[in-house]
């Protein structure tokens, strides 16, 4: 075995160089493939991407020229509702796991349950949602059913992100709080959660990107139809009221699935590509936003 720096044999150094080259090739190949997919999606839908009519009009059933207005709104509304439900629950669960739970059988069970939830195929979650929310509870294909199915999907991701963020807060901050005579609850609320906030926000937005493209869990819960929306309608029980959570709501990803399955519109390919490109841009925005928001918040907190 070589004992001094720089004494690696010539062959070892050659192997090292070769390995670096091979690794670089692998990474290069992946980057090219990934960029090709992303650019391909954006380019094939570019024509529709800046078409205001496409972005706002309602879809046509059998004529060309339909848009994705309701789908676009539904995607964001569903995401918002999902986050409204899943963020507080995940925050609570993560705080419990990170701060309260003693190492013991309860924690082990909870951790295993959350891991199990994260490993469940989205189609199983979707079918459960169909069985439980849609049929048993009688909510029908609705935004609420969809949001809860997505919540189940989102909770394990969020709990892990938030837990990691809380655990990354330095030990002495926690001790300082407790030493001041604060309860663990107060320490969590006033010290831990605020200082973990940048990481939490980044995690939440990144998880939003994942939820945004989900289709399998939504086909059987939020449904495959998008009633035309009337933004002046504030009757929360009306199907055309955008904010009604009991109406069926097709999202962008489900729309791509539906028109490719049974669609008969003549400009199907263009609409499908355009929708995919819009989705891609949204996810791109989420990523940029996540980085930006995380960095801004971190700067404000450290400046204070």
């Amino acid at each position: 075995m070589p004992s001094a720096k720089g004494s690696a044999t010539a062959s070892a150094r050659r192997a090292d160089k070769a390995a670096t080259v091979v690794l670089a090739c692998i990474v290069g190949l992946i980057c090219v493939a990934l960029v090709a997919i992303i650019v391909g999606i954006l380019v094939s839908g570019a024509g529709k991407l800046f078409d205001i009519n496409f972005l706002t009009a309602k879809p046509e059933q059998f004529k060309e020229g339909g848009g994705i207005g309701p789908e676009l709104f539904n995607s964001f509304y569903l995401l918002l509702l999902t986050l409204l439900i899943s963020v507080p629950v995940s925050l609570g669960a993560a705080v419990f796991l990170a701060e309260y739970a003693p190492e013991g059988p309860v924690t082990t069970v909870v951790k295993t349950v959350i891991e199990a939830l994260s490993s469940l195929p989205s189609i199983v979650v979707g079918l459960f949602g169909f069985l439980f929310f849609v049929l048993t509870l009688g909510w029908g294909f609705s935004i609420m059913s969809g949001a809860l199915a997505l919540t189940m999907f989102n909770i394990p991701i969020l709990v892990r992100v938030i837990q990691q963020a809380l655990e990354a807060v330095p030990r002495d901050q926690r001790d300082a709080g407790l030493a001041l005579g604060l309860t663990r609850w107060e320490t969590t609320l006033h010290i831990l959660v605020p200082s973990a906030m940048p990481a939490i926000i980044t995690g939440v937005i990144l998880s939003a990107g994942r939820v945004f493209g989900e289709a399998a869990a939504l086909i059987y819960t939020a449904g495959q139809s998008a009633p035309a929306l009337d933004f002046l309608n504030l009757n929360l029980l009306s199907t055309s009221c955008p904010w009604n959570v009991w109406r069926p709501a097709e999202t962008l990803a489900v729309h791509i699935w539906k028109i490719n399955s049974e669609g008969v519109v003549p400009d199907l390919t263009a609409i499908s590509n355009g929708t995919a490109a819009v989705l891609m841009v949204c996810i791109l925005l989420f990523n940029v936003l996540a980085r930006f928001a995380g960095r801004r918040l971190a700067r404000r907190l450290t400046a204070e």
């Binding site: 090292d16 189940m152 989705l279």
Partner: protein, 301 residues
Amino acid sequence: MSKPLEKRRLENVGLGITGACVALVVLLVATLVFMVASRGLSTFVLDGIPVGSFLGGTTWNPHQTDASGLPSVGALPMISGSFAVTLLSCLITLPFAIGSAIFVVEVAPGFGRRVFQPITELLVGIPSVVFGLVGLTVVVAWTRGWAGGTGYGILSSSIVLAFMILPTVTSLATDALAAVPDGYRDGSYGLGCTRWQTVCHVVLPSAAPGLMTAVVLGMTRAFGEALAVQMVIGNAAQMPESLVTPASTLTSVLTMGMGNEAMGTVYNDVLWSLALVLMAMSLVFILVIHLIGRRGAAKHA
């Protein structure tokens, strides 16, 4: 005297709120397991189909009855199809994922953080339908030209799946490598080892449990993916004969059939049994990860 009591109350409120969140999650999962299981088991309990002929049978034709007068509901073709695409897609992804993880952690961390990671994160958000469409138009044609057959089958599905699980496996593998303490590397470099020697003999072995977890989580993803696979595998409920003949997976048969069959029919019950198998398998995957974790911890201790 009231101050400490107040504090005690506050602590209980906190425990109550967070505990309720945890209880809610556990309750939801329990409901899910219970409901899927109760529907999935009715094939065996209500319809009287033996578990063995479901798990071991090779003929899938629930609308027709076999010699014994029971519907032919052999799920083995789908179960083996699911395992085949899962394993193959992991084999395809693995060198790329681990290779790029090594590159990103050991060779060019800045590039990893600024360029590579954001790109892979974007990939996660692409809907599986879009992957399916790309697979249908590009991958299937490519497989047909290169390997013969109709192009639909395990090979095409595995290639599409390999792309889909690449971000998951890569980012987890990157985390696993990054978690190896720098002291280990310094020790190796101090001994005069090259970077490649350090990676092979020090970093990879000590990150092994983490890497295994990454692979198993990737497999979980591949096993449960539905829409994209359904579009490229061909959905022929026969035992997989080769990589380029049409086959089927649990998810593909489930997606195709669920909307068509009315509740309460044997066909519908059997579809729920497939969902039950899917659920059981994902629990097994989690169990495997736990075992890996425990063995990893034991080795380090």
